[in-house]
Amino acid sequence: MQVLKVSLTKNRNISVMENNTFTLTKKLITICVAMIAVGIIAIAIGFATGVSGTRIVANLHLNNYYFVGMGLIGLFFVAVHAIAESGWQVSMQRIGEAMSVFIPVGGLLMLLVFLFGGMHALFEWTHEDHLDAILLKKVAFLNQPFFYIRFVVYFSGWILLAHLIRKTSRKLDLNGDVHYFNQLRKFSAIYVVFLAITSSTSAWDWLMSIDAHWFSTLYGWYVLSSMLVSGFSMIVIILFILKRMGYMSHVNNEHIHDMGKYMFGLSIFWAYLWFSQYMLIWYANIPEETIYFYERIKYFDTVFYLNLILNFAIPFLLLMARNSKRVFWILIPVAVVIFIGHWLDLYQLIMPGVVGQAEAGIGIVEIGTTIGYLGLFMLVVFYGLTKSSLVPKNHPFYKESLEYHTNY
């Protein structure tokens, strides 16, 4: 504690870069709103050309889940490093904080989809009058009142903790009081534990219960690892956009290198969990379990194999060398590949169960909606960035972050 106080007084108000407040320009708002408009038009085209309502709802659900996950991981990025008392991430932790602003927005959209017809289209178990013997056994967990109670618990917890972490971080920036630093660590610890449980249970609720007859004990981790990779890739993409706009000049190759390591390592972690789930089901060969992969390999074979190539083979081979993790011209294409890849991963988790092979496909509706959601997400993140200085100059580890150096 004494050491921390000395460090705080020594490293306060050190000279910072010129561009430390983010301004949301008209041009940026126009681009984001145009992207949202593309999304709305795509959905309208979908309705006009007779794309089934189920497919559109499943598509909205996919994007809701994907971008809420990004928000959660943005906050996780801040929280997990605060607990570990690491210093290097301080220079870019504002991006993570800004991403967490999307959690309530995504939550609202998700609630709207569930309330206005989404439940019956997405979840077979909501058709209470014709449940079979297996689903009747699961009614204690899979019933609508409890589903909404869990929904409220997840989002109130996430939104509250995100608010507290952002507020404490802003207060810490104001006067650099060590009290706020300790508070930040406390809230972060609560958030990480809360997310560890709720990321699994929410994945059961919103993804695994689509195929309500099937279950996998690894599913929660699998989805969390997918969220982690795509979230960290999103941080890199936002960092790149900000750097192109002339901000974040204090973030250098050393920080980018560590983000590259995260993308590389977590891609392997995702592949490990994918394989752990796949191989046990393949080996045991029990019909009620293999039906899940049978559907996906038989009718969604392109997405199924593309998923492995985009999310494992490409990041693994391209990011293996040290130097490729340190340059944006390799890191950004890989981040975009991972962004598309994990969207496809969610696609093959959701679509076979909800839409079925006859109707499912990737067309104007899917691509347009994703562009729309990306625009909304970016708009919210940019709005979040304007809320506080881009440079956390009073953070006790800010100086350490500037002088950070990594070899391998």
Binding site: Y278, Y283, N285, R322, Y408
Partner: protein, 171 residues
């Protein structure tokens, strides 16, 4: 190596400054012994990036190919057994062993390459240039095998200018 000069520092920041000064004067530092890893010392010594990663990649690739190839040969040619009606060449079941062997050979190849390059390993003779470097001193070692008497003087001068202590010339 029979002739060499050693000198020590007591602080790692002085060490890095001193090493830079000595190298600026054109004297080649053979090695530095430190009680803990010093950040930035490899840059100050002008060392190339380690090529151990290439050895690791080679070892890993060999391990993966051998692991997969051996299993494929055993389960299709040498001793085909039917497991649960699966095809003989069933790739998913080969992946764990392939992965493990890739990791194992990558690790082994790195350790062996490291031992060979630095002449370490079982039976290697340990040379202690100065006993103080086994405790808390940062020892700088300069090769003086072919140095004339006046050049040794020059090196010693450069060392003391750079703030090194305990300069000794050993034959």
């Amino acid at each position: 190596m029979n002739k060499y000069i050693t000198a020590y520092y007591t602080d790692e920041n002085d060490l890095i400054k001193g090493v830079k000064q000595i190298r600026e004067k054109g004297h080649n530092i053979l090695d530095v012994f430190t009680p803990f890893p010093v950040h930035g010392l490899d840059v100050a010594l002008g060392m190339r990036r380690s090529r151990l990663t290439r050895v690791a990649f080679g070892g890993g690739a060999v391990g993966a190919i051998v692991g997969f190839g051996f299993q494929a040969w055993v389960f299709t040619k040498a001793y085909p057994l039917n497991f649960g009606g699966k095809p003989y060449l069933s790739v998913p079941s080969f992946i764990p062993v392939t992965f493990e062997l890739a990791v194992l050979l990558a690790a082994f190849s790195m350790v062996i390459a490291f031992f060979i390059h630095f002449k370490l390993g079982p039976g290697a003779k340990t040379v202690v240039y100065d006993e103080r470097c086994t405790d808390d001193r940062f020892l700088v070692l300069i090769d003086a095998e072919n140095a004339e008497a006046d050049e040794v003087k020059k090196i010693e001068k450069a060392l003391s200018d750079a703030g090194a202590e305990g300069i000794t010339y050993k034959e």
